[in-house]
Amino acid sequence: MSSRRAPATRTTLAFVLVAGLCLLAADLQIITLSPWDELGRMLWGVVSPNFREPLRLADALLQTLTFAFAGISLAVMMGFPLALCFRWAPVRIYCAFVRAIHELFWGLLFLQAVGLNPWCGVLAIAIPFSGVLAKVYAEILEEADLRPLQSLPHGAGHVEAFFFVRLPDVWHHLKHYSGYRLECALRSSTILGFIGFPTLGFHLHTAFLEGHYADVSALLILFYLLIASLRFWVRPRLVPIYALAAWVMLPAGTAFSLHNVTRFLTRDIIPAPVRGSLHDGPEALAEHLPQLAEWGQRMVMDQALPGAITTLLLSQITLITTGALALVLFPWISRIFVRGYLLELGRLAVIVMRSTPEYVLAFTFLLLWGPSWLPAIAALTIHNGAIIAHLIARHADTMALRPDAPRGLNRYAFEVVPRLYGQFLAFLFYRWEMILRETAILGILGIHTLGFHIDSALAGDRQDRVMLLILLTALLNIAVDAFSRRLRARLRLRTTAKAV
């Protein structure tokens, strides 16, 4: 029976089965005692947003834009040349590595080495984004229609072929994808506020930790409006001007100190057992090797390995719930299913879902259900499900339907979903590694993911451990990414974000 099923169906069933098995190990107990006072305060905050400090809000908004535009423009400048030599293995490995580390972790590493300098924020966005852009740009360029090559005059070289054949054909795809990454950059810029950059997230984090929900809601409303209005004011021709303005407005920071960078690289991140003896020659170093081995073993057995397992279990469950939510959500924001105010309402709801920081969602569900994996799964599902719904809805919007195409539920189940299912799986697999990275935020739930251990190492000012765990997290991400790429190739899914 199963051999006759389509490969996409078989893959889906396999993933659902795996998620089911992961559920056996999950902690899903619900404990609700007296959440209503706090939830009432939150709700009151939502209906009475505090806009009484417009200057502070405007400044945070401007800083969010500044970091995002500076970061994304630098990412494009680095990513495009990288895309051109993406066939070269070292470039591919470099890109896989830089994008495997979350913006937040890049930011934290730079903060350690350089200090609270605006450049750290810009680089924290630009470096991982350049890796993503290089990969996607390369894939888009590869898919260019090369038939016009034949119309090139004799003697035209690679450069002409690139600029007159390849690039024009895929230009609008590159543009659209970069536009989508801009939205991602705005989200990242906001999140970087959580670790000290002066963006919306800075104030959001503070207000939320203090329980000032009226401030939280004002900041979130501003952020939703920012994302919702992107399509009105981000025009390809204006983007260079915005980027330029961002670089001009980047706040001044502390002076760069070579001493700090050196200390970070030659002392802080050296494993504690050999830190003292590293510069005393090979003999002193050799003496401490057993301690180093013990340190490494303890780190792997106590933190990295169990952390990686928990992270994977949680991600596999979340992957399925995310997919399910995306399939339910997307018709509400697609023109081929709904129109008029219903469509606008749906779009707004999905913007709220995908732009509310997972931390805020996780806390709310924690109040409701108590500490288990449930708040984590729900928070990550809402955030990622809404992002995928947004992406496939835009894909569906470009779909040509026959005049006699079925309507309503039939159109959904027998026409649209089957046609975009491959694209849907491609987006979901893309999101896989994102979900993996996002499980880092869940310390409040006491779930010991890799991110939890990184956070603990930071709190103990143990940069050696931070570095080791970040590198191991990156390796896990690279492995998942490689696996999902092979899966996509086997299913012959279009891996590019063409519809984006």
């Binding site: 609700t32 005692l33 903060l111 350089v114 203090e210």
Partner: protein, 286 residues
């Protein structure tokens, strides 16, 4: 071939020159409570210090205990208002750094254990053995009153790491969240900075029906002002003494409310030896 080296040398020399000259005296503070008002409050403290020290003084806000330690390590700040643990971490990382003052209250700081009413636990003079096996929430992972000391007393009385003696262990990230989570019953028991509890109680934010204080820990040393070690060299002879004097002589209640402390008293590194020892026992420091 020589020119690039010369350029590089000039650039580095300029950087070094810029980083030494014209930099204001900068301080930070751990974001332990009322973070949203910290900025305006500490700007006032900066004004006071500027007046007393006759140099430009600036306060820079940070988002976490770890970030304040990093800023101190990187010499982005010359003075910091640390917690007990973050102060020990910072002084361990920066040779010559010293604790110069602490709040009057910090000599005998305490932590409150809180419980949700469903636990049936009530205030007692003894360590509440009944919290064993329940879910427990700490504050920030790097907090002395919200994590280090409560964990120490838990290990002492229940004989094991929190993860082994409780059903679930979370870290809320702030004292205010800890109170909210225990009050909602999301966690059954938690540990909180007593000053934050008292403040929120006075502001009417706490519903005594759902959450109550069940135990006061024995006292321990907490917050402190810590200074970089080489300030007399860069800021002129006697500068360290003037900073210390300015802090100890701060008597404007409006300024002291930023901390909030009644007054500051002298402190030294040795006052925090017990904190360091406990951090090492718990495995938070090497």
């Amino acid at each position: 071939m020589r020119t690039p080296h010369l350029w590089l040398f000039t650039a580095v020399a300029l950087l070094v020159a810029f980083s030494a000259y014209g930099k204001p005296f900068t301080f930070t503070a751990i974001p332990d409570q009322n973070e949203s008002r910290l900025r305006e409050r500490f700007d006032k403290v900066a004004n006071y210090l500027a007046e007393r020290l006759e140099v430009e003084v600036r306060y820079i806000p940070v988002k976490s205990y770890a970030a304040s330690v990093t800023a101190f390590k990187n010499n982005e700040v010359q003075l910091a208002w640390f917690g007990g643990l973050s102060g020990v971490q910072a002084r361990a990382a920066v040779p010559g750094a010293r604790a110069i003052a602490q709040g009057d209250e910090d000599q005998l700081f305490i932590t409150y254990f809180l419980a949700h009413d469903s636990t049936g636990l009530s205030e007692s003079g003894q360590f509440p053995q009944g919290i064993s096996g329940r879910s427990f929430i700490f504050g920030s992972k790097g907090s002395t009153s919200g994590r280090l000391m409560p964990e120490f007393f838990i290990r002492q009385h229940l004989g094991g790491a929190p993860e082994t003696v409780f059903s679930r262990v979370g870290y809320s990230g702030s004292h205010s969240r800890t109170i909210a989570l225990v009050q909602a019953g999301a966690y059954e028991v938690g540990a909180v900075n007593y000053k934050v509890w008292e403040t929120e109680l006075a502001e009417g934010k706490i519903d005594a029906q759902h959450v109550r204080m069940i135990w006061r820990t024995p006292p321990y040393p907490d917050y402190n002002w810590t200074l970089q070690g080489d300030l007399d060299e860069t800021w002129g002879a006697g500068f360290e003494a003037r900073v210390t004097a300015a802090l100890l002589e701060m008597d404007d209640p409006d300024l002291l409310a930023a901390f909030p402390r009644a007054k500051f008293v002298p402190a030294k590194n040795e006052d925090y030896a017990s904190i360091k020892e406990i951090a090492q026992i718990i495995g938070l420091m090497d």
